[in-house]
Amino acid sequence: MKKLLSRRNFLKGGLAATASATVLKNKDCQASGDFDGYPDSMGVLVDLTRCVGCRSCEAACNKEQDLPEPAKPFDDFSVFDEIHHGQKRRTDETRYTVVNRYDVPELDHPLFRKFQCNHCAEPACLTSCFVNAYTKTPEGAVIYNSKVCVGCRTCMIACPFYVPTFKYSSAFDPKIMKCIFCYDTRLKEGKAPACVEACPQEALTFGKRKDVLKMGKQRIRETPGKYVDHIYGEHEVGGTAWMYLSSVPFDKVGFDTHVPKEPILNSVKDFLAIVPMVLTIWPGLFIGFHLLATRKDKIKEMEKEKNKKNDEKEEQV
């Protein structure tokens, strides 16, 4: 009887824990969903109508971040015709930013699009990393710490823009290579990243995110017909530090227009909150259920054996 009571208590405790975990989980969800980004974080507005494809930003990034020598000079524009695995050039371990050319049929001139880490307000790379190698700084940069990285490359899959790249040349000392908004050398001190400073056309405008967003809206409002009435990155994946203005629909210049308008984290948050609960409570709970369900059988078996013994005794007598 004593044993049975303790079992019951155990089950009661299990249920209470489950209930409290569910309540706590909901509370946590709301807290992270309300994060609007750091109020004074910096941002960059990229105006595709201004970019002339001079690749000055690529050259500046290469020198600032001390990246390897490029295969072709930065004033070689044949790179715009390169196609790798059916794709235009993309960022990799040797370059944190690339400019690609897009020939849009309805325009008589090509458009150029600079591409790098967009520095999300709620980065998917950061939330997917189980060793916390990523940090979103109050200045707006998403930076990375190679010392704790184990090289699992989950961030590469989590990123909606396919930005983090792996340094395959040093797989035993894993390192993810991606734009860090020049955090160490510039942003930390309030300076604009090297690419922005190098841009001759001011196609890249650096400032507080809320200010450059205001500028973008002003440009759309004051030059009717020049831009598509949308700023890519204002709401995409919950808002990004780098935002874009374009004269043609964004899917025509290489942007993924199907990314959600909320942080990637939101699509997995409910599930992820359940994981600790499942791992800690479920084993005990179901062992309890199992013992409870098989209790009668055991008692029956014990009684059976008792009866058998009794029968044997009787036979002997």
Binding site: P70, D92, Y168, K191, Q201, T205, D211
Partner: protein, 176 residues
């Protein structure tokens, strides 16, 4: 004394007469007031200075197309005209007078936070030059290549890995 007064009076009359005779150009600057050639070199680093033929460019563009409302001519851009339709000649007509050389420095960015400031999106000096020049050159098929206006310096060649600093063929890879 009397002669000097006379001279002054004549000069005044002549000036007044001159203004009355050209009513369309009230208080405005003339092409002849500007230098024929301007050397743009304040930011020369990766590229050398630009020898800008100001006189030649006055044949392609009117003053206000580049100098906005500062030369005293009526502005064409309706956005500018909202405030500057009667601004008259400005104290400053040079590009550096209004456009920040170090556009993204902390202190300048701070000034943009003022709620009374309308010009939150004024390009910096480098941006102003290039946007103005390139915008027009693309339309009238003027030179648009970097080195057609300014030649690359040694620092520029190092930055762009070109010329004497070009990568040796076949030694580096772009990776994936």
């Amino acid at each position: 004394m009397r002669t000097r007064k006379k001279v002054m009076r004549t000069a005044l009359a002549l000036t007044m007469g001159g203004i009355m005779l050209s009513p369309g150009h009230l208080l405005s600057m003339e092409v002849e007031d500007a230098p024929e050639m301007v050397t743009i070199e304040s930011m020369a680093n990766l590229y050398g200075p630009v020898e800008f033929n100001h006189l030649m460019h006055t044949e392609y563009a009117s003053c206000e197309e580049c100098h906005h409302h500062t030369t005293g001519d009526k502005v064409v851009d309706s956005n500018c005209a909202r405030c500057h339709s009667n601004s008259g000649e400005g104290d400053e007509v040079t590009c550096t007078g209004c456009h920040e050389t170090n556009r993204f420095n902390k202190d300048y960015l701070k000034t943009l936070e003022s709620p009374e400031l309308y010009h939150i999106d004024k390009p910096g000096l480098k941006g102003a030059y290039h946007l103005n020049c390139m915008g027009c050159h693309e339309i009238i098929s003027g030179p648009t290549g970097c080195q057609e206006c300014h030649t690359m310096t040694e620092a520029g060649e190092r930055r762009f890995n070109t010329g004497t600093f070009a990568p040796a063929k076949g030694t580096s890879s772009s990776g994936h």
